[in-house]
């Protein structure tokens, strides 16, 4: 199987799985217990936390383990909204966020918050000018994803942070699920983001693990209440094996950013040139400036599903725009936001690389894709 759907999820890395199993075998005690086994498990958990804090440039106590990216996004958004009502009720996000952000925003709208959505251009990038116009004195929260999961567009986080922090007292949340461990992203003192969402299974760790990281200890309120774990901010027995696996995955990923981005960039160029050779039958949704590990394309008047099935028959796994929305028949909100030619709205296909992707995978994909295109569109292309 040639797996080119790494933005949906990744195959857990062998080394990381070993860690996971080993921690389950040796350090399974509850880290909140006061017996020695508990203390040891807690010490290990703290080490994992320290490692993540170090990678994200923050303090250890600002790393909160969650059950994934969705929870971390929900947590940041609801929590910041709830503690900020004395400052205002105005929130800004973008049209192309992940549903875990957009649905949370809808919830807040129902509670009476005033949410504004930034539009994006054809390449999927927000306009800083529009942000500048929309940020107000009473804006309490801005949530912008770093890398878009469907097309790979990269948002100008640094510049956005500067605008947000100079024009308002708003807290800035960045969903870094698709970028952390693949591109440099971290806190940058007062001029950067205030919250970052990280997910484990996108970087070869396990499903069901994520982190909400804070630049400093903001007085946020918990989203899940109970036994008061994670500094009282996220209750529930902490999944130490997942947390340690995540910390290890994060280290491995961040360390290999330079090597991997070089590989990804080369394959991106290769794929783009290859896809362009199909002329007007193919529209590239991703741009060259986007994340090099995501290439989204669309085929004229064709449903994405048909291509996915055909490629699958050749042993190649890709997806339509995103795994979350691929089962729905309606066009994804991201594709809608890009405002593309209606002929290209249904046939979106996303190819995404991971640490295990090889050059051979790319070559086999190209062969299979050429074959399928011949069957579907005839020889008229090229």
């Amino acid at each position: 199987m040639i797996y080119l759907d790494n933005s949906a999820t990744t195959k857990p890395h062998k080394e990381i799985l070993d860690t996971f199993v080993q921690v389950n075998e040796q350090y399974y005690a509850n880290p909140a217990s006061i017996h020695e086994a508990g203390v040891t498990a807690n010490a290990l958990l703290t080490r994992a936390r320290e490692q993540l804090a170090h990678l994200l440039h923050t303090e250890t106590n600002n790393i909160i383990f969650t059950a994934g990216g969705t929870e971390a996004n929900n947590f940041a958004i609801f929590s910041v909204a709830r503690i900020s009502t004395h400052k205002g009720r105005h929130i800004i996000t973008t049209e192309i966020e992940h549903p875990s952000v957009l649905e949370a925003m809808k919830g807040l709208e129902e509670e009476g918050f005033d949410v504004e959505y930034l539009s994006v251009d054809a390449s999927g990038v927000i306009s800083l000018e529009e942000l500048r116009q929309k940020v107000r004195k009473d804006t309490i929260l801005v949530s912008i994803m770093h890398v878009n999961n469907e097309v790979g567009a990269i948002q100008p986080i640094e510049e956005a942070a500067r605008i947000i922090h100079t024009q308002s007292r708003a807290l800035f949340h960045v969903d870094a699920v698709q970028s952390f461990g693949k591109m440099p992203i971290a806190f940058n003192g007062e001029t950067g983001p205030d919250f970052l969402t990280v997910s484990g299974h996108k970087i070869h760790a396990l499903k069901g693990s994520g982190v909400l990281a804070m630049r400093k200890s903001f007085p946020i309120v918990p989203f899940i209440v109970g036994g008061g774990q994670e500094f009282g901010l996220r209750s529930g027995t902490v999944a130490v094996p997942q947390a340690v696996a995540l910390a290890k995955a994060a280290r491995l990923a961040v360390e290999s950013i330079p090597a991997n981005s070089k590989k990804y960039k080369a394959w991106q160029q290769e794929l783009r040139a290859f896809l362009k050779s199909f002329g007007r039958d193919i529209h590239l949704l991703s741009t060259e400036q986007g994340a090099p590990y995501i290439t989204s394309l669309s085929i004229r008047d064709l449903k994405g599903e048909i291509l996915i099935n055909a490629l699958q028959k050749e042993g190649i796994i890709v997806s339509t725009s995103s795994a979350c929305s691929s089962k729905q028949t309606k066009t994804s909100h991201v594709v809608e936001a890009l405002n593309i030619d209606p002929h290209f709205k249904k046939g979106v296909l996303r190819i995404s690389f991971g640490m295990h992707t090889t050059d051979e995978d790319i070559q086999l994909f190209k062969q299979a894709f050429t074959k399928i295109m011949k069957q579907l569109k005839g020889d008229s292309t090229t």
């Binding site: 921690v23 020695e36 040891t40 010490a43 290990l44 080490r47 994992a48 490692q51 910390a247 290890k248």
Partner: protein, 402 residues
């Protein structure tokens, strides 16, 4: 990098007459010890100030980070240098004054010329520099008497040296300049603060802790170790003596009436501490006692407890309010460790209502039926000694998982 050296101004030590050389040497050794991870450091100690040469930016960052915690330093200033050229020194002055670009402050320029052959004389140079700084920063204004900032320029033979910032140091006296004492470290909020305050007065510390296995856990012991480790960041190694205390506690409970067990327990602790003190050649015992805070800290209790020894017992917190102690504990980063909720040996056999005004004669009478000496000897002999800062061994067991 523009920075060349850090100038250190001595604290109280510059007023001490003939011990001065010892004090300065001690401070230099302590600085070396605190920065053992970035050695070698070129340190030049003069009678009134000390210079640390800066070789690279990494060292500079570490120095600026930790110098404010070293006792015996009144203040320090990063010093920049440039070639002996008028334009170069102007540019450097502007760059350095950029530190204050967001503050409305007054300043003056002070010029000293060791090299009298330099093209501009003191006055002209002063005027030129002041002018260029004023033109660059609208928020600054000149004031000759008591300005907020003095921009000092020294034209020496080899280069021109410029400084403006004065960063406050920790004050106090270099650790070790006032001998060694034994700190009774309980794990609570007060004792680490007491230790800190004495270190600040130049006292070198060793610490003693009483633990009662199996009733107290590894956690409570770990907490005390963490506290001892925290205290080492002020620039000295600390030895921690851990005394097994269960046997004595059980004995006391059996032999003296319940409402005075607390007083007797404290008396035994002090006797043990005094023996350890003698063995390690320390001069005094330090406690975190604060008058009236708990039953054992009334004047009557202190009298009854203190009676077992003639050794000076230093109680730096005796007149402190709890809130003030907490504030210092937070400042020195021991508070979070101290408030971890683990039982220590004092809380396991606590009587329901200990006497707050114990009578010494009565206590001595109750104790007279038992020979505690043998138990005390054994506790002292069976103590464990740990040295801090210690390398984290557990960390290594985990590292392959991470």
């Amino acid at each position: 990098m523009i920075w060349k050296e850090i100038l250190i101004r001595y604290g109280e030590i510059s007023t001490k007459g003939r011990n001065k050389v010892d004090f300065i040497n001690r401070l230099r050794d302590n600085v070396r010890y605190s920065f053992h991870d970035i050695l070698p450091l070129k340190i030049r100690a003069e009678r009134d100030r000390m210079f640390i040469e800066i070789e690279n930016e990494e060292k500079m960052i570490v120095l600026l980070d930790r110098l404010p915690e070293i006792f015996g330093i009144q203040s320090f200033s990063p010093v920049a240098s440039c070639a002996k050229d008028v334009d170069a020194v102007k540019a450097l002055a502007v760059e350095i004054m950029g530190i204050f670009k967001d503050q409305d402050i007054t300043f003056k320029v002070e010029v000293r010329r060791t090299d009298k052959t330099f093209e501009l004389d003191t006055h002209t140079l002063q005027r030129e520099i002041g002018g260029v700084v004023l033109r660059n920063y609208q928020n600054l204004s000149v004031q000759m008497k008591q300005p907020d900032v003095t921009l000092r320029i020294e034209v020496r033979m080899d280069a021109i040296y410029v400084m403006a910032q004065v960063i406050p140091g920790a004050g106090g006296m270099p650790i070790g300049s006032n001998g060694k004492s034994l700190l009774m470290l309980s794990g609570g909020i007060d004792s680490p603060v007491a230790g800190y305050l004495m270190m600040k007065r130049g006292v070198r510390l060793e610490a003693i802790h009483f633990y009662s296995p199996p009733y107290t856990s590894q956690n409570s012991l770990q907490k005390v170790k963490d506290l001892a480790n925290e205290l080492t960041k002020f620039g000295a190694r600390i030895r921690l003596h851990i005394i097994p205390f269960t046997e004595l506690q059980v004995l006391i409970k059996e032999r003296v009436p319940e409402n005075v067990t607390m007083t007797t327990t404290r008396r035994m602790m002090l006797r043990i501490a005094d023996q350890v003190r003698e063995e390690i050649d320390a001069m005094a015992i330090i406690t975190g006692e604060s008058l009236g805070q708990v039953a054992s800290q009334t004047l009557e209790s202190l009298t009854a407890i203190n009676d077992v020894t003639a050794t000076p017992i230093l109680r730096p917190l005796i007149a402190f309010d709890k809130l003030d102690i907490i504030e210092i504990a937070k400042k020195i980063d021991t508070y979070e460790t101290s408030i971890q909720p683990y039982e220590d040996c004092c809380t396991i056999f606590t009587p329901a209502s200990p006497k707050t005004k114990p009578k010494l004669e009565k206590i001595m009478h109750y104790e007279s039926f038992t020979d505690f000496d043998e138990y005390i000897e054994r506790a002292v002999r069976n103590r464990e000694v740990h040295i801090f800062p210690e390398k984290k061994e557990k960390a290594d067991a985990f590292s392959e998982l991470l």
